[in-house]
């Protein structure tokens, strides 16, 4: 039982990170029907932005709570600006061309950022401990680490905040309108460009938060971290029903739990194979994902 609970904690903290990144994929897909492959690289850049900001402010050697908050806000702002810039420079000029063009561009931006990261930051850097780390031994073989609590609670808080923005604010209503129909929204006087820009900003902020959380937990950041992290999060978004915000959260947690329990109870050798088989099974049963709306293609 303790083993089960421990694996549950492991799975939830892993899944929370997937969920945060998945939200960025799903929001952009919701508004532009674009799979933004550069999203994983925004996440990676967020981690390095946090590292350099911490070094610049001296927070890495002398960590204080306000200092860490400044680093977090700074990194998330950097991600927001980066996300909006990518949209402005790489995607907006192509918005009226075929969807495939944008997709290829997204892959290009992803490779560009990854290789720039490799040149600028080197292969790997260690991330300082900015927050005190504690571990609570609940029972024999069952421990809760402060990093897991932090990851999970920050994820929940950000999701509630996102839910509030999307459902209760003017800009959120505009985002929903654009995702229903861009042209109709434009006719109704909604500034589509601004809304799309805002969507990228919000998704990137969440990626920045995920990056900081993972950096604080693993203390190692790499220019290729966006590749694996981004791929898993993309799968989580599809699993939950791409375009659906609760779907991304559910998909992320489900993928994290699936990976952990396959490793824990079946065989870690076949972790990815079994976890993805499970996902294929779910998609066969519900092709549009757990929370996806099946839509009829207009002809």
């Amino acid at each position: 039982m303790t083993l089960f609970l421990q694996q549950l904690i492991n799975g939830l903290s892993l899944g929370a990170i997937y969920a945060l990144i998945a939200l960025g994929y799903t929001m952009v897909y919701g508004t532009l029907q674009l799979i933004n492959f550069a999203h994983g690289e925004v996440y990676m850049m967020g981690a390095f932005a946090a590292l350099y900001l911490a070094r610049f402010l001296g927070v890495d050697t002398n960590p204080t709570i306000p200092g860490v908050i400044v680093v977090a806000v700074g990194a998330m702002t950097f991600c927001a600006v980066l996300g909006m810039t990518i949209e402005r420079v790489a995607y907006r000029p192509l918005r009226r061309s075929s969807r495939l063009n944008m997709l290829i561009t997204a892959i290009g931006v992803s490779l560009l950022l990854q290789n720039v990261g490799l040149l600028a930051f080197g292969a790997l850097q260690s991330f300082p401990s900015l927050l005190p780390e504690a571990k609570w031994q609940i029972a024999d073989g069952l421990a809760l680490r402060s990093q897991d609590v932090l990851t999970f609670s920050v994820t929940i808080a950000l999701m509630l905040g996102l839910h509030h923005i999307v459902e209760r604010t003017q800009i959120g209503r505009a985002m929903r309108a654009v995702s229903h129909s861009r042209d109709t929204a434009a006719l109704m006087g909604i500034p589509v460009d601004r809304v799309v820009s805002f969507t990228f900003a919000i998704g990137s902020v969440l990626a920045g938060a995920a990056a900081l959380l993972i950096a604080l937990d693993k203390h190692t950041i790499r220019p290729d971290m966006g590749m694996t992290g981004g791929l898993k999060a993309f799968v989580a978004a599809v699993l939950g029903g791409i375009g659906s915000i609760p779907g991304a959260v559910a998909g992320g947690l489900l993928l994290g739990l699936a990976e952990t329990f396959v490793s824990g109870y079946l065989a870690s050798t076949y972790r990815d194979a079994i976890a993805f088989l499970l996902l294929i099974g779910i998609l066969l049963y519900k092709p549009s994902g757990l929370f996806g709306k099946s839509t009829v293609e207009k002809v």
Binding site: A123, S126, I214, R222, D224, T269
Partner: protein, 438 residues
């Protein structure tokens, strides 16, 4: 970007075509200068660079200077193959040095074999690498021996009876080393109580380690590379594991402690050489390396140095034949001279196969009939100040151990250990190695 490359290539081609030919001997080198195993490639490059400078200072090969052409494979096996075919077709090297990771060497070796260009891997330990063909050599020991050494150390020296193995399923090296470790450990009488796996580039290992820790083995054997190993150590200690962490030469990086921090301190791994070795060959190399790069060389730098040294020694031997010497320096694309070049490379191959008792930094190297190096392994302990020598295990199975049952590096008696003599309290304090800045 592409336009710039094309222009540059055209420009270079124009230069080499127009200017009078400067005589030089080209050696190709490929390695992981970026990516997940970057310190492997960078250390190897540094070691090879020192050997090349020494050789050129001494007049190169029969008076012709050596030019090293270096290519980065970004730690990816598929890139390694592309890189080596580029080297072979563009630079027409006399020989090729590389790679560290066995998966990368395995991807590139068939190309070198097919082209009839001798390739020396400084540090790929998977037995499969030299099985590719008779032009593929290495100057390090192979995993069956390394696995045996690690198992002997665990069972005999540390008294370990139960082990969990955590393998990187994507790596030929890791899978092979795990298998040889298990075979020896079980035949000695130990038990493998858990086998778990991960994939390179994973960052979360808690699921596997929760399982392992719940079985509480005496030791966890992690035959992986330093990036993942550091994180694994963190998750192991974070999960409350108190036993021994044990690994292979994939741990050998100055970044290991940076990633694993306190969790990895006190872990043991098998390696190719120890900086504590007082033999003049080793200390001389360490001094040169430190003067040039400011850090202590790791095992990969030492193997890089040895691989280049052995290559240059063999080339010098072959170049005593003037026809071969001319063929080495001939880089023209005229098909008529290809036969002579091929013959020179074949002579080099034969010469490499004859290397015997070469006094390398990583021990006395003899190339056996399978083109592998016979030499002892050392076990080192991870400390804050860098790896510390624990014991030396030679291929015959004899060990030059620290007294059993005590922790710490007591002196080895030295008699049975040709490569590594005792490290002791008297050893000079090791300076803190700064984190890789490049």
């Amino acid at each position: 970007m592409r336009v710039a490359t094309v222009l540059l290539t055209t420009f270079l081609a124009a230069c080499s075509g127009g200017a009078p030919e400067t005589k030089e001997i080209v050696i190709g080198q490929y390695g992981s200068l970026t990516g997940g195993a970057a310190t492997f490639g960078l250390s190897t490059k540094n070691g090879i660079e020192i050997a090349t400078e020494e050789q050129n200072a001494a007049g190169g090969i029969a008076g012709v200077p050596i030019r090293m052409v270096l290519e980065d494979d970004a730690s990816k096996p598929e890139e390694a193959a592309t890189t080596v075919s580029k080297l072979l077709s563009r630079d027409r090297p006399v020989a090729i040095l590389g790679e560290v990771a066995s998966s990368s060497s395995l991807a590139a070796a068939p190309l070198a074999q097919a082209a009839g260009v001798p390739m020396i891997s400084p540090s790929s330990t998977s037995p499969k690498v030299t099985q590719v063909g008779d032009y593929i050599f290495r100057v390090c020991f192979i995993d069956p021996f390394q696995g045996t050494a690690a198992a002997q150390f665990a069972y005999n020296t540390k008294g370990v009876r139960t082990v969990a193995v955590l393998t990187d399923v994507k790596s030929d090296y890791s899978v092979g080393l795990a298998q040889y470790f298990k075979e020896t450990f079980v035949s000695l009488g130990g038990t493998i109580i858990a086998e778990e796996a991960y994939s390179a580039n994973d960052i979360d290992f808690k699921a596997q380690l929760t399982n392992i820790v719940s079985k509480n083995p005496d030791a966890i054997f992690v035959p992986g590379y330093y990036t993942e190993t550091g994180l694994i150590a963190r998750d192991a200690r974070g999960g409350g594991y108190k036993g021994i962490l044990l690994g292979g030469d994939g741990w050998d990086s100055e970044q290991l402690v940076g990633i694993g921090q306190d969790a990895i301190i006190g872990g043991f791994y098998t390696n190719h050489y120890s900086v504590d070795d007082p033999s003049p060959v080793v200390q001389d190399f360490i001094k040169k390396y430190q003067a040039k790069y400011g850090t202590k060389p790791d095992g990969l730098a030492a193997l890089g140095y040895d691989s280049a040294k052995i290559l240059y020694q063999s080339m010098t031997e072959v170049a005593k034949n003037p026809a071969h010497a001319a063929a080495f320096a001939d880089r023209s694309a005229v098909p008529a001279t290809e036969g002579a070049r091929k013959a020179a490379r074949a002579a080099l191959r034969d010469e490499l196969a004859r290397v015997k008792n070469f006094p390398g930094v990583t021990g006395t190297i003899t190339i056996d009939k399978d083109r592998n190096a016979e030499k002892p392994a050392v076990v080192v302990e991870v400390t804050k100040d860098g790896p510390r020598f624990v014991e030396s295990i030679s291929p015959g199975g004899s060990t030059a151990p620290a007294p059993t049952g005590t922790e710490g590096a007591a002196p080895a008696d030295g008699a049975a250990a040709p490569a590594v003599a005792p490290a002791e309290a008297a050893a000079p304090p090791v300076e803190a190695v700064p984190a890789a800045a490049k």
